[in-house]
Symmetry: C2
Subunit: 255 residues, 2 copies
């Protein structure tokens, strides 16, 4: 005869768990002794061990119930399903581990390796850290939007950085965070941007059907603009010259 705590110990579970299994009918209530104590036999140990084996594998207790009370064929099918579930779960965790791996390197979360590498290159150019952080946040959102295409997009951004004109642009943007609203140097930024936008447009690199909806693009532009006082002035200049957009380039009018 076993008391509840000895039963639990033999099966490697807690007393509370055993009582819970009684409550939900997973383990039948045993006879009681004259004192009201539950009195178990060896069969209860066996059943309890089976329950734990399935439960440890992540099977919900309700399903455990079904499986243990089912015939051998239904049971076999259930076990196969459990194994599929385990495999899927393992894959999910491994995927998460890969994603987590990038941030241990220092970048602040939720970015694929490729983007982290790109940001590091930008930082190495001497671009202001605050600007790098702005870019980073935009990339976090974009990476969530296009989990597939992000590596390709980043590869293209990398190639853009081979152009010294683009490097100069980044450096200027970094400095521009501290400029006054009417700093005249904003014109140089506008010049470079116009060159680059024109080049991109001619190279057919501008893709209007990028999976982003317009209001969302506006929101990203707006967020970027909030960071620097001169942004509004830059927008005006570019608009006068027939350009619109930041996150996504758009040609709105011929000059």
């Amino acid at each position: 005869m076993l008391t509840i705590s000895r039963l639990a110990a033999h099966a490697g579970v807690t007393v509370r768990a055993v009582r819970h299994y009684h409550q939900i009918g997973l383990l039948p209530e045993p006879e009681r002794g004259p004192s009201g104590y539950r009195i178990y036999d060896a069969a209860a140990v066996v059943r309890l061990i089976r329950i734990r084996t399935l439960a440890d594998a992540g099977v919900p207790l309700a399903r455990v119930q079904e499986l243990l009370d089912a015939g051998p064929d239904e049971f076999a099918r259930g076990v196969e399903e459990v194994d599929r579930h385990l495999r899927a779960e393992i894959r999910r965790l491994q995927e998460n581990r890969r994603r987590i791996a990038g941030l241990a390197a220092g970048e602040h979360l939720a970015l694929p390796q490729s983007v982290v590498g790109y940001l590091e290159r930008v930082r190495a150019l001497g671009v202001d850290e605050r600007y790098v952080e702005l870019e980073r946040d935009t990339w976090i959102v974009l990476a969530a939007q296009w989990p597939q295409q992000i590596d390709e997009v980043i590869a293209h951004k990398h190639s853009e950085l081979d152009d010294p004109d683009m490097v100069r642009l980044y450096r200027l943007l970094g400095q521009a965070l501290d400029w006054d609203v009417d700093d005249p140097r904003v014109v140089e930024i506008a010049d470079i941007m116009e060159r680059q936008m024109r080049r991109a447009l001619e190279a057919g690199e501008v893709d209007a059907d990028d999976g982003l909806d317009d209001p969302f693009v506006d929101l990203l532009d707006e967020a970027a603009a909030e960071a620097a006082p001169m942004a509004e002035r830059l927008r005006e200049i570019l608009q006068e010259r027939g350009w619109k957009g930041w996150t996504r380039i758009e040609r709105v009018a011929e000059p």
Copy 2:
């Protein structure tokens, strides 16, 4: 400007989850429009994606809070810990998969491969299926008790089966389930058992310090005895000859 459902969609979570994060202070409550609607900006999307990245990795929300609001060093340490946790979880699931693998082969749950193989051999000898199930249940309990040593124990049981005397014993035990209480053939079983017990004792195979407590051994014996009417008679005969025990052999008196 984003409404809650568009925010949720951009980050790949449910509206309910976003509200939950507000409730627990994980995501700050944004401004409200004149209608009382929440109005989000791009920063909220970024924060929300970060939250999900950590939460998907199994980090409890309270810990997510701490990590996101911590400095980069504390953050790095936290991420490393998360990775350790992920690795441990993956190992646990893989271990469960191995355990589950055995039962897919048909045996009814909670047994290591070695035991499944042993039971199959016994079954192949033509031993009654009901008796095999009795053995199986005992092994489930024993395997839970000695997860390490079980393979060794089973290897020894395998070698015992090389003895035709032992094979005969198993077959008789299978048949004996249907015998009457006073069937005279029980004597043959007792004879074989005595021979085997004596042999085991002389070979030094009997280990009193096996990690099982006495009441538990008695319980297992009792459970086995309940299955067949002749069991009690068998016990008496063996006791007269100075033997005790079934699950564990004990010499109680010289003849």
